[in-house]
């Protein structure tokens, strides 16, 4: 295999210089061949040709073949010679070998590409990592510097803190010292003061003695005359009795004051208790009804019953003892319990509201929404059904209208309806006529009664006038004359009024008939009543036998 060293290879184009270098140093190592292949750029076909022709020429044809054979057999390929020992090439095996080599070549190229790609990738990864590393290193440096700075600051602050603590302690010590000084000075001053006071007292005593001893006649009171006491009492001797009385009075004054105070406090207490009870009731009413919530019912059920018992008890107790301490405690405790429950309730409500605001779905919300949806569906179904019904109805109507029905039937139908109505109207008309007749009858009777009444009244008035005349005749002449003048006019007036009334009623009669029978009856009745009342009024004064009064009242009635 070393024969090839002597082969000189012709010069090729510049882009395959490397190959020449390698080929000149031809070794028989397969990796070298591989490296050859690696560095091989794709040469042009021309150069390829020249290169390949450089390897095998006509002279060393057999040698090259045998060399190739050896190489191939070492590589594991079948021999290119024919089976006989002769130097004839087995073309098929040659072609196969070539194919195999080509395939191998392709594989190698691919592998090369892959490796190159990987190489590139690794190179970029390396660069990237290097950058990252550099950055991280920078950051690490920075953070280290920061830490150092912060540590420095921390140390400074701590030292400051220590200083301040120290100062504070110093100040406190000073304050304590000053307080001690003050107290000691105070005691000193007190002591001095006491000493001076004692001296002063001694002086005073001395002076007092001197003053008293002098028996100064000047110390006296000179009064013209003694004045009486303001309250007029005489002066009393000081005895034990008076002392006792004084004590008694003093204690009485104190006691009355205390009693007043206590009364005020009792009133206040009662008011406050009332307020508390009211509050308790209101709180209980505010709380949600316990029956609906079974969960809470277990908690609050017994409590509520307790409360009710409490209320009952309290109401009873309050009637008897207003200031019983246990009652007071019970009341305050129950109110506290209620208040706590109310607070819980309000908190729960607040939570619910907040949840609603935040929009998170709660079980309750889901349920309610579902319910809501169900309901809407139901309603929609109903609407649909109604619509359908309406449609059918409309259709039926249309059919009815549009369907060709006989005129007779229609007429008949119409007639039927009309007949019904007519019958009804006739019935009503009959009733109406009956009523009218009844009203007529009544009106007639009323008018007759009114006429009779008027006649009676006239007669009565005449009688009265006669009787009055007789009365007046019996009295003095003066009155008689005046009365005679007035009374006939009064009679005339009243009789006129009576006639007028009757006339008015009769006049009213025809007017009312056509509009409405009932009101006519009413006004007739009212007139009748007024007539009655006027007659009643007129009757009364007759009994009293005072003509003037009667006249006036009648006048009032007419007005």
């Amino acid at each position: 295999m070393g024969d090839w060293k002597t082969i000189t290879v012709p010069v090729l184009s510049s882009d395959s210089k490397n190959i020449f270098q390698y080929t000149s140093e031809k070794r028989l190592s397969s990796p070298r061949m591989n490296s050859q292949v690696l560095c091989l750029p794709l040469p042009s076909s021309k150069s390829m040709h020249s290169f390949f022709s450089a390897f095998c020429t006509e002279e060393n044809f057999e040698q090259s073949i045998s060399y190739l054979n050896r190489e191939l057999t070492t590589l594991g390929f079948p021999s290119i010679y024919a089976e006989s020992k002769g130097k004839e090439l087995n073309l098929i095996s040659v072609i196969n070998c070539m194919n195999e080599l080509l395939v191998l070549h392709h594989k190698n190229l691919r592998a090369q590409e892959e490796v190159e790609m990987q190489h590139l990738k690794l190179g970029s990864d390396m660069d990237h990592l290097k950058n990252c590393y550099a950055k991280v290193k920078e950051q690490l440096e920075l953070s280290r510097r920061e830490i150092v700075g912060l540590q420095e600051r921390d140390r400074q602050l701590q030292s400051k803190n220590r200083n301040l603590h120290q100062l504070l302690k110093n100040e406190k010590d000073e304050v304590q010292k000053l307080q001690n000084i003050i107290s000691s000075r105070a005691t000193q001053y007190n002591h001095d003061m006491k000493r001076k006071e004692r001296e002063y007292n001694k002086l005073k005593e001395r002076l007092h003695q001197l003053v008293m001893n002098k028996k100064d006649k000047k110390i006296a009171m000179d009064v013209l005359n003694y004045v009486g006491r303001a309250d007029g009492k005489r002066g009393a001797w000081r005895t034990n009795k008076t002392e006792a009385r004084n004590e008694e009075e003093m204690y009485k004054a104190l006691l009355s004051d205390y009693e007043q105070c206590q009364k005020q406090l009792l009133v206040e207490n009662a008011e406050l208790k009332k307020v508390l009870q009211q509050m308790k009731k209101e709180i209980i009413s505010l709380l949600p009804p316990q029956k609906q919530k079974p969960k809470e019912g277990s908690e609050d059920g017994p409590v509520l019953s307790d409360l009710e018992d409490d209320i009952g008890e309290l109401n009873k107790e309050n009637m008897w003892e207003l200031s019983c301490e246990t009652v007071r405690e019970q009341l305050t405790n129950s109110i506290r319990k209620q208040w706590r429950m109310l607070k819980h309730h309000v908190e729960k409500l607040d939570n619910q509201v907040s949840r609603v605001h935040s929009g998170t779905l709660n079980e309750k919300d889901v349920i309610s929404r579902e319910d809501h949806e169900l309901e809407t569906e139901k309603l929609e179904l109903e609407i649909q059904q109604c619509k359908e019904i309406i449609k059918t109805q409309q259709q039926l109507l249309q059919q009815q209208l549009m369907s060709p029905c006989d005129d007779d039937t229609t007429l008949l139908l119409q007639d039927c309806y009309l007949l019904e109505e007519r019958e009804r109207l006739q019935e009503e008309w009959r009733l109406f006529q009956e009523q009218k007749k009844n009203f007529e009858k009544e009106r007639k009777s009323f008018t007759e009664a009114a006429i009779r009444l008027g006649l009676e009244r006239k007669a009565f008035e005449e009688d009265r006038g006669v009787w009055l005349k007789q009365q007046f005749l019996s009295m003095s002449t003066d009155y008689k004359h005046s009365e005679n003048v007035t009374t006939p006019s009064a009679f005339l007036e009243s009789s006129d009024q009576g006639n007028r009334l009757v006339k008015s009623t009769s006049q009213r009669k025809p007017r009312c008939v056509f509009s409405d029978p009932v009101p006519a009856e009413a006004c007739q009745a009212s007139h009748y009543i007024t007539c009655n009342s006027s007659s009643a009024v007129s009757i009364k004064p007759a009994g009293e036998s005072n003509p003037n009064q009667w006249v006036e009242s009648d006048k009032e009635e007419t007005e």
Binding site: L207, V227, M250
Partner: protein, 425 residues
């Protein structure tokens, strides 16, 4: 009644006519009416003499001579028939009786601001005493001057005592060096003590509410603390800050009205009223918008009795308002609403407030600031009234008539009576 040098002048309130004129032996230092308004006592401290005059009988005279014992103070007893004289150096209190020939002595009275206190109904009298460097209180029955109770108090140096209007509780407080308020019941039992703080200067002024429900204590730390009569514990603390920030408080600021607008109406010769108004400026009240900051004065710290703290406290007669004055802010009067326990009104004056007093019948406050104006406040509003006098009239003090219809305005040499019209209903 008023005294001029050594004369006592008695005038009628409605007409200011001189009814009586009495002459005393010496310059009168102090006068007091008896409770039934029949007698007037005139005390002359220098001579040690007290003279009593009667209105009904001008000829009646009474002279009490203390002689060498001297006289420091004198006052009537509530029944109007006894005179209590305090001798010099507070050696003793002599009780002279005008109706009996009897004299009583009370030994060792205390020399303090309010050493004697009478109950409103005049039945009992409390006297502060000091024996052997210890404070005591003695309660006497005024009808016969019998000693009812005598007990010691836990105070360092009792400064003042005051009865509650219901006559059942006696408040006793310590000197300003120590904040201590003691409450004793009528029979001498200690009901409660109250101490707001230690060491700082303590109580400066005290006032009972007319219903005896509240006790207001004004102290040197510019706060008023109110105790309630049920538990004797503090129910609220009112702070008097220089910056009024609460929007519900009404601040009335006294503002000078410029007199230049009135010059047009001058006539020649100028009328008296106008002449006076030329020299003194008119003023009116303006409502200032909250927040308002008031003038704050810090007193000199090295002097005794500094002008700081709540110097004046007074309840209105209907128990609804409390008027206070903070000596650090001398131009302002603070009015608190007791029903709501909040600051109601602040009156800001141009000059320092000298004194104020409530109308005995209604919630009306009269304030004087040392100029010639008197200021009135009521829940309906406030006005500034100029006293129509010639020349200067510096009102230093004022005093209401018991019916609330008029008040007396006092200056150094003169006084005038201000009549208030009653609203026609």
């Amino acid at each position: 009644a008023s005294c001029v040098q050594y004369r006592l002048v008695v005038r009628d309130v409605s007409t200011l006519q001189i009814l009586q004129l009495y002459t005393c032996l010496d310059q009168i230092q102090y006068i007091e009416w008896s409770s039934d308004s029949l007698f007037i006592l005139c005390a002359m401290y220098k001579r040690g003499i007290v003279q009593v005059w009667s209105l009904e009988q001008p000829d009646w005279h009474c002279k009490i001579d203390e002689g060498s014992a001297g006289l420091v103070a004198s006052c009537w007893s509530p029944d109007g028939r006894h005179i209590l004289n305090t001798t010099e150096f507070h050696l003793r209190i002599t009780v002279w009786s005008l109706c009996m020939k009897s004299v009583s002595y009370i030994k060792y009275p205390k020399a303090c601001q309010q050493g004697i206190a009478f109950t409103k109904d005049g039945r009992y009298m409390a006297v502060a005493e000091r024996r052997d460097c210890k404070d005591f209180i003695s309660i006497f029955v005024c009808s016969d001057w019998q000693l009812l109770r005598h007990f010691d108090t836990e105070t360092q140096d009792l400064f003042g005592i005051e009865w509650a209007p219901n006559g059942c509780v006696l408040a006793a407080w310590d000197t300003c060096l120590e904040y201590k308020m003691l409450l004793y019941s009528l029979d001498g039992r200690l009901l409660s003590t109250y101490q707001a703080y230690e060491w700082s200067l303590g109580i400066k002024s005290v006032a009972w509410s007319p219903s005896s429900q509240f006790l207001a204590i004004g102290s040197y730390d510019e706060k008023v603390r109110i105790l309630n009569h049920v538990t004797w514990k503090k129910i609220i603390e009112f702070e008097h800050l220089a910056a009024v920030a609460n929007s519900k408080t009404i601040v009335y600021k006294e503002v000078e009205k410029s007199p230049s607008a009135e010059t047009e109406r001058l006539s020649f010769p100028p009328a008296r009223a106008l002449a006076s108004s030329l020299f003194s400026t008119q003023s009116k009240y303006e409502v200032s918008q909250v927040p308002v900051s008031l003038q704050y004065i810090k007193p000199a710290a090295d002097r005794a009795n500094p002008k700081m703290g709540i110097g004046m406290v007074a309840f209105s007669p209907d128990n609804c308002f409390l008027a206070t004055k903070n000596d650090n802010i001398p131009n302002a009067v603070w009015i608190w609403d007791i029903q709501k326990l909040k600051l109601f009104v602040v009156l800001e004056q141009l000059c320092a407030v000298q004194s104020f007093q409530w109308d005995p019948r209604q919630p009306r406050l009269a304030v004087c600031t040392g100029n010639s104006k008197v200021y009135l406040w009521s829940p309906a509003g406030c006005i500034s009234v100029q006293v129509p006098v010639e020349g200067d009239f510096q009102i230093v003090a004022l005093s209401w008539h018991p019916t609330g219809d008029s008040m007396v305005l006092l200056s150094k040499d003169n006084f005038c009576v201000c009549y208030l019209e009653r609203e026609e209903v």
